[in-house]
């Protein structure tokens, strides 16, 4: 890449679940201030990509560096928004409780949130348009509102780099508009945002760059040059039959994905 100090560098990343590779040799790097869409069919490894960068799943080979360092040294500059469906929304907590969790990373163990942290949470709630619902039980929110709660928690983290897993999935039109405005706002503040996205209609409108993924990296680059008919065909079209046969074989034989 042109810039010598990328915000995120992913090098030859390979990840397997139960020995079956879901990401294979993925290589790219992202510069500061970009809004990046991660696009690909179901099971392409989109969520796995950001989870492995966040250290939530083990890498079988390759590495990723954030701000040129190891993840552990820069955690406070990164925010991760899981899929909405990954938690039990019947958990006894209010909107404010969940958003306040965004400040826990900087607080550290044992310490309790102080007034400044509560103010940060309240500001985040306002910027996603949930003011007045601070004390509402999260179980009583609509899907779109729940997604906004997750986004507010991320904003309360006040990070430099954001990873968001399907923030637009199952939300109403108003929420979608709010979210994209917030993402563009983050970008304008010089922050970098990676978004797992599945709605091909809006890709060109939303993202500066796209990562086209289907187990392997099909294409990566500026949206206007990369989000092309040909690349989409390759991402969504015919599967690489040989590759998937080898993947199945690896799962069966419990072979390591790299010789150590």
């Amino acid at each position: 890449m042109s810039n010598s100090n990328p915000v995120l560098e992913v090098h030859d990343l390979t990840v397997s679940y139960n020995k079956k590779p879901v990401l294979w040799g993925v290589d790219f790097s992202i510069d500061q201030g970009n809004l990046v869409g991660i696009i690909g069919p179901n099971g392409a490894g989109k969520s796995t990509l950001i989870k492995s960068i966040m250290g939530l799943v083990d890498k079988s080979a390759g590495f990723s560096k954030v701000f040129g360092r190891d993840l552990k040294q820069v955690r406070n500059k990164i925010s991760y928004v899981p899929q909405r469906g990954s938690v039990d929304w019947d958990f006894p907590a209010t909107v404010f409780d969940v958003v306040l969790m965004g400040t826990y990373g900087k607080l550290g163990l044992f310490k309790r949130p102080k007034r400044a942290h509560k103010e940060a949470a309240n500001n985040a709630i306002k910027s996603v348009g949930l003011q007045g619902l601070e004390d509402r039980q999260i179980a009583q929110l609509s899907g779109g509102q729940q997604q906004r709660v997750f986004l507010a928690r991320a904003l309360a983290q006040n990070a430099e780099l954001y990873f968001m897993d399907e923030p637009f999935a199952g939300v109403d039109a108003a929420t979608e508009k709010t979210i994209i405005e917030i993402l563009k706002n983050l970008k304008n503040q010089g922050k970098t945002v990676l978004v797992v996205h599945h709605d091909l209609q809006t890709v060109s409108e939303y993202f500066d760059q796209v990562i086209l993924l289907n187990t392997r990296l099909v294409a990566f680059g500026d949206t206007d040059k990369t989000f092309t008919e040909n690349n989409l065909q390759e991402t969504y079209g015919g599967k690489l039959t040989l590759l998937s046969e080898i993947r199945n074989l690896m799962a069966k034989e419990e072979m390591p994905s790299r010789e150590k």
């Binding site: 955690r75 938690v87 826990y104």
Partner: protein, 421 residues
Amino acid sequence: MIEFNPIILNVVIGATILAITSSIVGVFAFLQKKTLVGDAISHAILPGVCLAFMLTNSKNPIYLFAGAFASGWFGSFLIEFISSKSRIKKDSSISIILSLFFGIGMTLLSYIQNHDYSDKSGLNHYLFGSITSITTSDIYLFTSVSLITLFVIYFLFKEFRLVSFDPEFSNSIGINIKVINRVLTSLTVVAIVLGIKAAGVVLMAGMIITPAAIARFWTNKLIIMLNVAVIVAMFSCFFGSYLSYISPTPTGPWIVIVMSFIAILSFFFAPKKGIVFRKIKQIQFRNKIIEENILKALYQIGEKANNFNMSLSIEDILIRRSFLLIELKSGLRRLTSQGYLEKNDQGYAFSPMGLQKGKRTTKLHRLWELYLTNYMKIAPDHVHDDAETIEHIITPELELKLEELLQYPVRDPHDSIIPYK
């Protein structure tokens, strides 16, 4: 006056400790959906108690506590190990460990009973619990261990809550969820070990789970949930201990019976989630529908006759719209007593408020029909039944939105005039 009796004092302190620690730990186990693990741990404790007794030939609470903790913890470790390293799923590995450890424990217990251990009397209390068997030295140990447990929960409360709600996010901000979960599991083991002498290994899981499940019925707030769970557990422990003392039968079953009784009551009567509450809500909604339908029928009769002041008999109403006679009569009675209708010799007439309400229901019905035909492209002869339901649930805010969206139309799809204020 109650004369000072060390046994009663021990029972009271023992029951309090048991209730507080097991219910607080139980709330987190419940929220993490790990209640079955609690059941396995409590059964897995038995071999540890027996082995500790056989090795030391004493019932010193420290040895027994250590043995119980070790085997409970080992059991929970094996559950994780089996489910992560093999194809056996978690529920199966829980059952395997539970039955294996309990089997070993029962074998050891019968071995002890049949052999010459001098101090063996009372060891079988660990099976179903006997709160009066708690000694003063037990109390010292229990109190200090439970205080440590409560301190750990106090200081790690923020982390426990976060990990229970969203483990992936916790991991992403650098919390080691494996360590936090291991601490939680250890606390569960400790709470169970503290309780087994009073409640017994067989039913200890109930002590962990039931107060949390009951509390969840009554509140949506974690702090209140913890408090409700503690109160329920304390009441059940005291009352259960009393029942076991007067019967005289083991303590554990009585505590669990009392708790389960509270759980059943909660199931029926808890606000919002209880069955009775929900049934009442349904009846109220049904009554509301009948009342609004009556007012609408009266309005439509008035509309036709161009006179909203006339009195109508039950027969007049039934010509316009069919009702169950009994529902119509009770509906009319309620509407009269609420001031929407006035009763006179000829029948029923609108009060100003009643006219307003009848007009609004008619309006909502017609607006919704229009919305269905204009926006959802449903044929005009198919929209009536849908509007019959929707007209009763539209809130004033939605009413305004609907009016603005349709731009205050004059007529509905069937060419009836839509009445505004």
